[in-house]
Symmetry: C2
Subunit: 164 residues, 2 copies
């Protein structure tokens, strides 16, 4: 049993895994006769051309801390953008690939009003809302081919609790 | 000056303009070891292949009723999915195409926790949140070509107020 500290979400630290989708750093264009700001094209949605992108809704049970992480997955054919439907912060777990397997995982807690795009083929834990409705808009790859690779660690990582 | 009644959003009535993105009628698959329901692929995102889909954030000022509608637009190269970031209901105005121009407009008020996808080339008014933060995740076409056709009526339509 090993412990993982939760880091505040940071776009630079997260860049190797995907995109933090929020508007605090972007420069918007003004549209709709001055009534709306557009923060444009905030996620890398590159995907395999054998499928297409779709919009789905995920309704997840809430999780609690400390969170026991023993399973990560990756999607070789496309990205997966998680956009909270209620503005709540949520936990995101990811891991660098090391020779085809996930390395030491990292855990990030988003800010409110923030989405996360997991880049194609990046190792990540499943959706882990900690508060709110557990509802997310999800933009991901839709197609016929298998798009899920899982890895289960023999030992559980404990996320969000100091060593006891 | 002509009046337009607001209709409650209804997927069947809206189908000629686009998709109502919500999970009340769908049958989910269960994922993430039973912890999450997935309502999959809820919008027709067909688009021109000269560009791609992206995720953006729109931050709109709130509007009030009665709403004065004199401008609609359409995007010939791709769809535009509006996904509220705060779960709030919002007003959606659309019009059937009649020989290249918009016909009599219709206005729909969504339910909470509901998104709307405006299909490629469907006439629609600009984003009109009535409450909440005015924040929306938007999935639409990103590319170099012109993707905006506007139509301004010589007279204003009044949405959401009975004749006086």
């Amino acid at each position: 049993m090993k412990n993982i500290e939760i880091e505040p979400m940071d776009a630079d630290a997260f860049a190797e895994f995907g995109d933090v989708i929020e508007c605090s750093r972007g420069v918007p264009t003004t549209i709709n006769e001055g009534m709306c700001q557009r923060f444009s094209d905030l996620a890398n949605l590159a995907h395999d051309s054998s499928g297409r992108l779709g919009v789905s809704i995920f309704r997840s049970r809430l999780r609690t801390l400390p969170y026991e992480l023993d399973l990560v997955e990756r999607h070789p054919l496309g990205p997966q953008a998680f956009l909270p439907m209620d503005g709540e912060a949520f936990l995101v777990t990811v891991a660098r690939d090391v020779g085809g397997s996930p390395g030491h995982p990292r855990a990030f807690l988003t800010q409110r009003w923030t989405g996360v795009n997991i880049r194609r083929n990046a190792w990540h834990g499943v959706l882990t809302p900690l508060s709110g409705t557990g509802l997310f808009w999800v933009v991901d790859w839709i197609g016929e081919s298998g798009n899920l690779i899982e890895h289960r660690w023999p030992e559980v990582w404990i996320v969000g609790e100091e060593c006891i």
